[in-house]
């Protein structure tokens, strides 16, 4: 049973969720938000799409296997953890580029890793449950 209204709504809602999730991710260091919340919001966007259109459509929209997405996230976080190693820093020590407007840092990379790991993990679970039920 597919609802066309929900389907159309989901198509519009997904980009909104994704944009707001990125916004939440990037502002996280100085205002409420962060990679964890951002990842959850993005996962919710896909959850709505799954409800409306099924997992096949969601997979097409995602374009990448959710567990691989999670793996990429974990890899980003790990890379960030080694960021300070060449300069003799401790594991997971933050490293900041001294730019006035663009606060790039290994900490941001770590947060991006959190975002993708959470998104990938949650979607892996939702896909498995949803597809498990179909069979």
């Amino acid at each position: 049973m597919r609802s066309p209204i929900l389907g159309l709504g989901a198509r519009f809602l997904l980009p909104l969720f994704l944009i707001s999730s990125l916004y939440i991710l990037l502002r996280g260091h100085n205002a409420p938000g962060g990679g964890f919340i951002g990842g959850l919001i993005a996962a919710l966007g896909f959850a709505i799409l799954i409800f409306a259109e099924g997992t096949a459509a969601a997979r097409r929209a995602l374009k990448i296997e959710p567990r691989n997405l999670g793996g990429i996230g974990l890899l980003c976080a790990l890379l960030a953890g080694f960021g300070a190693a060449p300069s003799g820093g401790a594991p997971f020590q933050g490293l900041w580029l001294a730019l006035p407007v663009l606060p790039l840092s290994t900490v941001l990379l770590f947060d991006i890793g959190v975002y993708f790991a959470v998104l990938g993990g949650v979607l892996t679970l939702i896909f498995a449950l949803e597809e498990g039920g179909d069979a």
């Binding site: 939440i24 996280g28 260091h29 100085n30 205002a31 409420p32 938000g33 962060g34 990679g35 964890f36 919340i37 959850l40 919001i41 996962a43 919710l44 959850a47 409800f51 567990r67 999670g70 793996g71 996230g73 974990l74 976080a77 790990l78 960030a80 953890g81 594991p91 997971f92 933050g94 900041w96 606060p103 840092s105 900490v107 770590f110 947060d111 890793g113 959190v114 790991a117 959470v118 990938g120 993990g121 949650v122 892996t124 679970l125 939702i126 896909f127 498995a128 449950l129 949803e130 597809e131 498990g132 039920g133 069979a135």
Partner: protein
């Protein structure tokens, strides 16, 4: 089973790996021997911090004792790799075999070179693990799997005792560094000595297969022959002997040491040599004589005289040489004839004259005949033994003499071979000599056994250096002709008695190989364990969710209730809360009521979600927007997941009896009340602001972030977060795999 040599074509990558491993082993052998001069003065040390806060180092030392073992391990190891390449190079999984064997060699080298006790323990367990993989190499054979598991369980549980013993040594000596511990003198006066002795002996006796832990070693013959030749004669089973020798200066000299080692070694030596003579399988005969040798080594280490210790170290080397060679010869016989049954084999010298000569070369040393090194070893044993044990040694040595004849004479001499039970040889055909890979090992090892017999002076400096490590000036002298003394008389008596036993052996073998009592007891023991585990699982893990919940919540209510009742803490009851909070509380309680709706799952999910949103609102009011946002997201996702999962279940129907329902109400109510009281009691105290203050002060200055929660997550506690991420992802992947498997199972 032995694989046939293909012989033609190029060398396969797996064979290349075998030769490469041999080359590496020989390189290690050369490197180790090159250090002999240096090591005789002082040990070479190597250090790497591992866990400095615990005083544990990843450190190694090379002293004469370690050198003896390292040279045996690498030298024989190299020959074994060449042998294995000829023996089973065509096996489809030979590459894997080489890997396992190489890992084993590294573990063994690590064990004997370890300077830190914990490092030693790690390598000790690694040898158990790799030996498990090697014994169970023919993993489609249930017997091999069973015997591999048996060997690992016995040696690894001994390893656990050893770990406890090492920790006690570390406590008593104040260091885990062997170089420091050995400098510090013995532990015989320590109050922990008794416990240390028991635990260390448990470790050593299980590894070196002393009675009553001996049964795994003959079973380990399920391994391919190269493994038996390497692990179960020359190296791994000697690990226990190494440990006893290594800790000898620390622990020896007490009645406890002397009695337990003498008893275990003596009983093992005698028992094993009797059983050895009754075996029909050549490999089993060798396995039981290995037990005898281990028993004798332990027996010698019980003493602290120069004669006994010289005998121990010399016999260790001599035994490793001839036993590995004989295993290789037996493998060659098996390879050529397809059987190892001593009753069926005879006259093989007609087809395999070279193999026959090599068998005699090694067996001469085993029998203790002059001029082989075994002769010197036997004389040393008789010199080193306490008078009480001489009759026991005499009998054991005579039995070994008879077994040596059984291994080297019976299969090769006599009338030409008839039809073999294996059918590997057509009637009347002669077996062929094996390839050079199978002959090189017995040739070099047997040759070395003869060389050391003719020129015992070659071993003398090495033994002197080792004995200095035991606090003695020099080793007893090694002589081919020690004069017409008591040991000479004993040797002659050994030969006489041994010859009689050799002639009587076929009749003994006809009576059967004897019961394997300990082996059967082991099976019973495992059955008992399995029964206890099954019973415990039935009782604790019923598989019913409602029962788990009942147990969890009853425990929670009881533990909290008793604690609260005993402590009677002050409760923070604030009836003057603002109206908004009262409204949120009412909203949340309403949600909880909705979650209890009996007949609708969707109402339950909505109710739980409502409770979550109420909690999120409370977080928001108390100034934790991050937590509130997370809570909202998690609640939404939980509703989605619950929705997918629960709505597929069959409809709710109430089938529980009223009594059970009342019980569930009671437990839920009690748990809820206890948690409420706990929260009221906690909030009665002002929270500890120490950590919060630190984070507030440092979040911006050190981590350039204004959002403290986020800074903690991604910077201050990033390592924790990383661990949590891994868990989240693994849990999701695990759940997804479980769900897919369940569906797959249903389809089938």
């Amino acid at each position: 089973m032995a694989q046939q040599e293909s012989g033609q074509g190029g060398v396969s990558p797996a064979r290349m790996a075998g030769y490469l491993a041999a080359a590496i082993a020989f390189a290690v052998f050369g490197l180790v021997l090159a250090q002999l001069e240096r090591v005789s003065g002082s040990a070479i040390l190597f250090d790497l911090d591992w866990a400095p806060s615990l005083g544990i180092g990843f450190s190694f030392l090379l002293d004469p004792l370690a050198l003896v073992f390292a040279a045996l391990i690498s030298g024989i190891g190299g020959l074994i790799f060449i042998y294995a390449t000829g023996y089973m190079g065509g096996h489809p999984q030979f590459g894997r075999f080489v890997l396992f064997l190489f890992l084993f060699m590294l573990s063994m080298l690590g064990l004997v070179l370890a300077r830190d006790l914990i490092t030693l323990f790690v390598f000790w367990e690694l040898t158990s693990l790799t030996s498990y993989l090697l014994i169970g190499f023919a993993h489609d054979d249930p017997r091999a799997r069973r015997n591999a598991l048996q060997a690992m369980l016995v040696t690894a549980s001994g390893g656990l005792a050893l770990l406890a013993g090492f920790i006690l040594i570390g406590t008593a000596a104040g260091s885990y560094d062997l170089a420091v511990i050995l400098q510090g003198g013995g532990l015989q006066q320590s109050p922990l000595y008794g416990a240390i002795l028991v635990l260390v002996l448990l470790g050593a006796f299980t590894k070196s297969a002393q009675i009553p832990f001996h049964f795994w070693l003959p079973n380990a013959m399920a391994a391919p022959t190269p493994v038996s030749a390497y692990l179960h004669s020359a190296t791994m089973v000697k690990a226990g002997v190494y440990l006893l020798a290594r800790l000898h200066p620390l622990l020896s000299g007490t009645d406890g040491w002397e009695v337990s080692l003498t008893l275990a070694g003596g009983v093992t030596a005698l028992f094993a040599s009797v059983i050895a003579l009754r075996q029909r399988d050549l490999k089993q005969m060798l396995a039981w004589t290995t037990l005898m040798a281990l028993g004798v080594l332990v027996l010698m280490l019980a003493q602290d005289t120069a004669a006994a210790l010289t005998a121990a170290i010399a016999f260790l080397i001599i035994h490793a040489l001839y036993k590995a060679a004989l295993f290789m010869v037996v493998g060659a016989v098996d390879h050529a004839t397809g059987t190892r049954d001593v009753r069926a084999l005879r006259g093989l010298r007609r087809g395999m004259p070279l193999t026959a000569v090599l068998a005699l070369l090694a067996a001469g040393s085993m029998a203790g005949l002059p001029p082989f090194s075994g002769w010197i070893g036997k004389e040393l044993l008789y010199t080193g033994a306490i008078p009480l044990l001489v009759p026991l040694l005499l009998v054991s040595n005579a039995l070994i003499f008879a077994v040596a004849g059984g291994v080297a004479l019976r299969p090769f001499f006599g009338p030409p071979p008839g039809d073999l039970p294996s059918g590997a040889l057509p009637s009347g055909a002669l077996p062929h000599e094996p390839g050079w890979q199978l002959l090189l090992g017995p040739l070099l090892l047997g040759g070395a056994g003869l060389l050391f017999g003719l020129m015992p002076g070659l071993l003398q400096p090495l033994l002197d250096a080792v004995l200095r490590g035991f606090g003695l000036d020099h080793a007893a002298g090694l002589h081919l002709w020690a004069g017409g003394s008591l040991p000479l008389v004993l040797s002659l008596a050994t030969f006489a008695l041994g010859s009689l036993l050799f002639l009587a052996a076929p009749r003994l073998r006809a009576q059967g190989e004897g019961p394997r009592l300990a082996d059967r007891l082991w099976d019973r023991l495992l059955e008992v364990f399995a029964a206890i585990a099954a019973w415990q699982t039935r009782v604790i893990q019923s598989g019913r969710l409602s029962r788990y919940l009942v147990i969890s919540f009853t425990t929670l209510a009881l533990v909290l209730g008793v604690t609260l009742a005993a402590r009677r803490p002050a409760l923070a009851i604030q009836p003057d809360a603002p109206l908004s909070l009262w409204l949120i509380a009412a909203f949340t309680i309403g949600g909880a009521g909705l979650a209890l709706t009996p007949h609708s799952r969707i109402a339950n999910i909505a109710g739980i979600g409502t409770v979550g949103i109420g909690v999120a609102l409370i977080f928001l009011i108390f100034g934790a927007p991050d937590v509130a946002m997370t809570q909202l997201m998690v609640e939404s996702l939980a509703a989605v997941l619950f929705g997918i999962a629960l709505l597929r279940l069959p409809g709710l129907s109430e089938r529980r009896s009223p009594g059970r329902r009342a019980l569930h109400w009671l437990i839920s109510g009690a748990a809820g009340l206890a948690v409420t009281l706990l929260l009221l009691a906690i909030t009665a105290h002002p929270p500890d602001r120490q950590l919060a203050t630190w984070f507030e002060e440092n979040a911006f200055t050190r981590a350039h972030g204004l959002n403290i929660v986020n800074v903690i997550l991604v910077d201050f506690r990033a390592f924790d977060t990383f661990g949590e991420l891994t868990v989240v992802l693994l849990a999701a992947i695990g759940a997804s795999a479980l769900l897919k498997r369940r569906i797959g199972g249903a389809r089938r």
